[in-house]
Each structure stands twice: as C-alpha cells, then as structure tokens.
Amino acid sequence: MSIQVIEDTKVKAFPTPAKPAEVIAFTAKVRRRFDSAAIAGKLASTLVPPAVVIVVMLVIWQIACSSPNASLPPPSQVWNEAYDLIAHPFFDYGPQDIGLAWRVLISLQRVAIGFGLAAIVGVALGALVGQSIWAMRGLDPVFQILRTVPPLAWLPLSLAAFRDSSPSAIFVIFITSIWPVIINTAVGVRNIPEDYRNVSRILRLNQLEFFVKIMVPAAAPYIFTGLRIGIGLSWLAIVAAEMLTGGVGIGFFIWDAWNSSRLPDIIVALAYIGVTGFCLDRLVAAVGAFVTRGTTAK
C-alpha cells in the first residue's frame, strides 16, 4: 500500500517541473540580455586596470629615458626604430631577415619537440616511480639532484654529445621540463584511491589497461599541473639556449640584436617572448581543464 502511494507522488512529481521549464527558458533569455551587460562589465574590469598600468609604465619609462645620455631607448624611439618588427610580424626577406612571429614559431617548434618528448617520457617515468616503491627508492634521489641543475649547464654536454646546435637546444628543453612532469605524475599515481585499484583488480585489468583506463585519468589533474610548470620552464630555457646555440629562433635574435646594438629590437622581442609564454601557459591550463573536467569531482 504505502509503496504505491510513494510511486503515485513520484509520477505526479514529473509533469509539474515540465511546465515551469517554459518559464525557465523565458527567464534564460532575460538572463542572457543581462549577461551581455555583465560580460561587458567584466571585460572592462579585467582589461582597464592593466591598460592603465601599462600606460603609466610607458609614461614613466618615456620620461626616465628621455635625457640625451640615457643608456636605454625610450618607448617612442622603440616605436620609431622597430616599427617594422611591431607592425609586420610575418615578413620574410631571406634566411636571416624574417619577422619576429616566424622566429617565435621556430622556437615554438623546438619547444614542441622537446616538451612533447618530456611529456611522454615524464608521464611514463612518473607512473613507474608512483607505482613501484623500489623504482621510487632508486630513482627519486637521482631525480631530486638532477632537477636542480640549471638548464644552461646541460648545454655544453649536449653540444658535445649531439655535435649540432638544434638537437642540443631541444635536449636542453627536454631535460629542463621533464622533472616537474615526473614528480607531479608520481604524486598523482601515488594518490590514486585504493578503491579504483580494487575495481581494476576485480576486473583483472592488465598493466596496460590499468595505465590507460585508470592511472592516466585518475592522475590527470596532477599530470597537467606538472605539464604546466614544464612548459613554462621550457620556454624559459629555449630563449637562453638559443642565445648560445644560434640559428633563427627568438633567443638568437636577441643576442644578434645586442651584438649590433639594436636595443629597440630587443625590447620588442621581449614583449613577443612574454606574450607567447603567457599564451603557452594558458593553453596548457585550458587543455588541462578540458581533459580533467570529470576527474576532480567526487
């Protein structure tokens, strides 16, 4: 008897929310109108303060470097002398005379190879260290020591090993960005709930299935934290490495500009590097947020 009563109320409960659904659709429209105003307000509140700060900084810089014996060029001089670099990022007048966007892309290509390798090897090693207590005991001290070596300290050794500048630069990126990936992946794997392991044991998943279906998704938030730190480090390393190895990357452009005393060019290049690094960081963060959207919720 009582069960029937419960079911009746359940059945009745269903049509009732169906009607207000139309009303909700209507309010959603109203909300959207509100939203456009809210978005504009939000944009203004995020864009105006940094714009003001940049203008103030430019003014201070202009005043500070305006005296005839100033050692650095003021913004107006940067604008005048490096106008072609700012306005035409994609020009191409021959092998060493190309726009800054091309140089950034060439550097990014090296980062993509070096960081890509670091991501693959780092996740694999991190999984090993996180999974096996003996791998951790053996490898962790080695990692802890090697990760403190500054990126450029690897460069002479890799130049000697590869006898070529391009793979050496890529190796420097690899060795710089792999440590945070390894360490974060290992922490993520160690934190996989025992229940998930039990599920995989009952299903008799093999090592590969466990890695793909349980370990990587479960550790994904940690892995992406490592990747985000790693990509930041590799962008730091590539500019420094290219200054020493030459080629056509953005790092070498700065060194070249310094040797020919083109200070405005250096300043423009710094802006390019900063913006690119920011975009890389946000890109990895966005990919991470997309991939891990289900994993952190309980």
């Binding site: 009582s2 998930y196 044991r201 008799r204 299935e209 279906k213 349980i214 289900g294 919720a297």
Partner: protein
C-alpha cells in the same frame, strides 16, 4: 552435496613491523547457491576483511576460500564487489563505467550490440537507464550505489559481494535500495554476501545472518537462519512475530553477549 562457497578454517593476521595482529580466527562457513547471507558485527571485528578475503583482494593467512570446490586466492569478476563508497570512476559516464566492466568480462564472447543490450538491461534492472550519460558527480548517492550494483551484476558474478552498500545513505534512500536488492535477488537468484551493521537490514534481506564476535581474533559467534517467506515487505514484517524474534536474537547477540568495547579499538 558440496557447498557452493566454502570458507575452510580461515585465519587472517596482519604483520606490521614484527608485530602480528590476529584479525580473524578459524572462520568456517558454507553458503549454498542462491543464498543471501549477511555478515553482521561491531566495527573493527574484521567483517570487511572477511569480505576482502572472499573477493581475493587480500590473501588468507591459512585456510582456504573454495568456490565450487576450487580455491580462489586472487580477485576476479566472478566475485563482484559493490563497495561502500560506490567506487565509480568519476571521469566516465554511468554507461561507460558499466561498459568498462562488460567489455573486459565479455569483450571476447559477445558482440558489440549484445554488450550494449546487456549494459542497458542491467541499468534497467536498477532503474538507472535514464541517467546513462550522466557522470557520477551529477547523480545522488543512492543513484551512484544503484550504478555500482548494476556494474557488479553486469559481470554476471557467481557471488555478489556487498560491502556495507547502504552505509553512506540516508534512511529513506536505504529502504528504496534494500527493496531494489531484494527484487533483484528474487529475479536473478544471485548468491549474495552482504556486510552490514544494521540489524533490520540484515533480518529483512537475509536467508541467514552470520554474527561475528569482537576482535581481535574474531570468529563466527552464531549463524541465525531467517525463516521468513519471500517476497518480504518491510511494512508487513514490522509486526511479524518471526521477524521480531530474529531481530531480537541478533540484538541480544550484539548488545548482551558480545558488547562492543570501545577501549578495544
């Protein structure tokens, strides 16, 4: 006739840093096919350890778990476990969670379409087909546990192991799920072992109630048959004399003869 599941003189002790603590001692129990057995006892008496031993998630120290006269010492899908906290993988949808189990267990023997039908049949069985594309975070605790039961049933286990499956749920949701489990048990006739600390739940669902003494070195204190006809209805049973007598027997065992000593924790 030999027993379907036999727990043969099982001892279990954990060694930690030279100190050996005895958790279970001389567990002897036989369970027939299709039987619903509850294991009840105070917390810390090792009833979850016992379930893990049957599941193969932990190994026995001595003795053996025999399923159809074959010793089992590692986990497998023929002894599916429904975990207390559901253990659904949060990055998979309800459907994908069950598919993970079904494609592993039946990936070679059944076609894609057959596996799909099987998943949907199990979701229907727990009335969760409507939420097939939701992620665990988007459904309630009771619904998660239903999906956990569906995942276990989808493995077509010889024995269904329930580890305090309703412990984390509120009383009303718990009652609904108990009815669902009774319904499934009557339809499929699945051999089921349930860990619980709820006396009413044990009496309502079980054919036999296994009562554990307190640890350390806990063992089976008493086995109480529940001679109630099925199907059982909780409202009618609430004044049934057999039901009340069984309930009283369990309560007496737990609170008079084997009172929980807090200091032993």
């Amino acid at each position: 006739m030999t027993a379907y599941l036999k727990l043969d003189h099982i001892d279990k002790s954990f060694a930690r840093g030279g100190q050996v603590s005895e958790v279970l001692k001389d567990i002897r129990l036989t369970i027939d096919k299709g039987e619903f057995v509850s294991i009840i006892g105070h917390s810390g008496c090792g009833k979850s350890t016992l379930l893990n031993l049957i599941a193969g998630l932990t190994k026995v120290t001595s003795g053996a778990v025999l399923l159809e006269d074959k010793e089992v010492d590692s986990p497998g899908p023929e002894r599916a476990v429904v975990f207390q906290n559901h253990s659904l993988l949060p990055w998979l949808t309800v459907y994908e969670n069950i598919n993970l189990a079904v494609s592993k267990v039946f990936g070679r023997t059944r076609s894609r379409a057959e596996r799909h039908d099987w998943i949907m049949r199990n979701l229907d069985l727990v009335q969760m087909a409507h939420a097939r594309d939701k992620r665990p975070a988007e459904i309630s605790g009771g619904m998660k546990q239903r999906v956990g039961i569906a995942r276990a049933l989808a493995m077509e286990p010889k024995i269904l192991l329930l580890d305090e499956p309703f412990g984390a749920l509120d009383a009303l949701t718990r009652a609904h799920l108990q009815d669902a489990v009774m319904d499934i048990h009557s339809r499929l006739g699945s051999t089921t072992i349930m860990i619980t600390h709820d006396v009413d739940e044990a009496v309502l669902l079980s054919d036999r109630i296994v009562m554990m003494t307190n640890g350390p070195a806990a063992t089976i204190g008493e086995v109480l048959p529940v001679p109630l006809a099925r199907p059982r209805h909780r409202v009618e049973l609430s004044s049934d004399r057999t039901f009340l007598r069984c309930r009283e027997a369990v309560l007496k065992f737990l609170y008079e003869r084997h009172r929980f000593v807090e200091a032993a924790e």
